[in-house]
């Protein structure tokens, strides 16, 4: 029986579209979405789709990686400060690791994250960030 279908399915809007939420009381924006506002303790929210643009706040490169990610090693992960405020942790892609720099402009792309249960299981897709190259 295929595993981990439900949790992946529940997160599809967040992962594919970078949908978080915004507090209806104070306007604070969150990703991932929250149920209680950290600014005003408000509990009423509506969905908010982030632009996917931001700056690289911090990064590192992993050589020893968690199970399920072996085929991608070594790969970089980063914290991206979205233009709308929240800080998002994500895998980085389309990068030359020696050219990563704090403050560089980044954009969200939808990529394959991992394969559940190898070639038999679910393909998990979601957001990654890459440098904006114009």
């Amino acid at each position: 029986m295929a595993e981990n279908l439900a949790p992946n399915w529940r997160l599809r809007e967040q992962r594919y579209q970078l949908v978080g939420n915004v507090c209806l009381k104070c306007g604070a924006k969150f990703f991932p979405p929250r149920q209680v506002c950290t600014q005003c303790r408000g509990t009423e929210f509506e969905a908010f789709q982030f632009s996917g643009k931001g700056e690289l706040y911090s990064f590192t490169t992993l050589h020893s990686v968690p199970a399920g990610f072996e085929s991608y090693a070594p790969y970089s992960v980063g914290m991206i400060k979205l233009d709308e405020g929240p800080l998002v942790e994500a895998m980085l892609t389309d990068v030359n690791q020696d050219k990563l720099a704090i403050g560089m402009r980044m954009e969200m792309v939808t990529r394959k994250i991992r394969e559940e249960e190898g070639e038999r299981g679910l393909l998990v897709y979601g957001y990654k960030f890459r440098p904006i190259a114009e």
Partner: protein, 348 residues
């Protein structure tokens, strides 16, 4: 064929992965003749890329140019011979990523290299029959070639997405289309097989040339067109030689064909090949230019379309990245990296 309601391209977008392998690098490994290489280099998908992820980026570019809400789409159709799943649609995931899921048709099309334009024909029919206002047709592939096979030199990665909609909102209006198919076994891949089989020289005359030329000539006869009526022509491009030869036989000049001939730089992108050529032409066309688009898919058949560019191209063209951006974004890899990226190493 002409739809009941006038239809056109409302938005378009392309995608090419950033990695490239030179044909001479493949020839170095297998001892190929360097003076007879079919292309210069081809695009290779990264480890986290496949037909779904590439379709999403091309579709986002197309939607940015279309300037419509994703919920206005009534169809998301993905044509490919490299869908990641054997059973589970690529199109539902693409629709979800665009925000188009819900009241929308979604399906995956398969017709070798013609799957993308087959989806375009269906999208034209859906909009033209007034069943829908907008439909998204995508042709995208991460084609596999067996190591040491002739196809290994050319099987590339990339493609394009087109939002079809009513003519009054179009950047290029459809004049008419035509399709021509026969049962011709020039190229196929059986279930559970990793690599396709092909008929070497048989793929030329009875397959590519017969269908491409017959379809185009029948279309010209029915529309009273000749090559001189078009500013640009795009043909399916399994290599550089075939489309140039077909274009010459139909009376086209190299100048009419070269902007839409990308195979030398990105390889044969199969279901995306003719369509991504079309995006590069649209990136450079002027209002009132007439464009001929001719696909070919093994098995076999050709779709032919005639489009006329409208003034709206000028305001929409730069709302998304041009195809030249993706052509210029490149990192050369060697054969060892290619083997890793194409999942040819057994890890367990």
């Amino acid at each position: 064929m002409k739809p009941k309601r006038d239809v056109g391209i409302v938005g378009y977008g392309s995608y090419v992965p950033r990695f490239r392998i030179k044909a001479h690098e493949i020839a170095r490994v297998w001892g190929g003749a360097e003076d007879a290489l079919p292309i210069d280099e081809k695009a290779v998908p990264g480890l986290d890329e496949d037909t779904i992820t590439m379709s999403i980026e091309a579709a986002r570019n197309a939607m940015a140019r279309a300037q419509i809400d994703a919920q206005q789409l009534r169809a998301v159709w993905v044509g490919s011979e490299s869908h990641p799943y054997a059973v589970k649609p690529s199109s539902t995931l693409v629709a979800e990523a665009l925000g188009a899921s819900g009241a929308v048709l979604a399906g995956d099309w398969q017709f070798a290299c013609k799957a993308g334009t087959e989806a375009m024909q269906a999208a034209i029919a859906l909009v033209g029959s007034e069943m829908a206002d907008y439909a998204l047709a995508i042709g995208m592939d991460t084609a596999q070639g067996r190591p040491h096979d002739a196809l290994e030199y050319t099987a590339g990665a990339g493609g394009a997405a087109f939002v079809m909609g009513p003519a009054e909102n179009a950047i290029a209006m459809l004049e008419a289309s035509y399709s021509y198919v026969t049962d011709t076994p020039d190229f196929f891949r059986r279930a559970y097989q990793h690599y396709p089989e092909h008929g070497n020289r048989f793929t030329g005359e009875p397959a590519y040339f017969d269908h491409t030329l017959t379809a185009t000539r029948n279309f010209f006869d029915s529309m009273n067109f000749s090559a001189r009526d078009f500013q640009w022509a795009i043909f399916h491009q399994p290599n550089v030689k075939f489309p140039l030869q077909a274009a010459h036989q139909l009376g086209f000049t190299r100048d009419q064909v070269m902007p839409g001939l990308l195979v030398g730089k990105i390889g044969n992108t199969y279901a995306g090949a003719a369509l991504i050529g079309m995006t590069n032409v649209l990136d450079n066309a002027k209002p009132q230019d007439r464009i001929l688009l001719v696909s070919f898919g093994s098995g076999a058949g050709s779709d032919v379309f005639s489009y006329v560019v409208t003034d709206k191209i000028l305001e929409r063209r730069d709302l998304a990245r041009r195809t030249a951006f993706y052509l210029g974004r490149r990192e050369t890899i060697d054969y060892a990296q290619y083997v890793r990226f194409r999942n040819k190493l057994v890890m367990n």
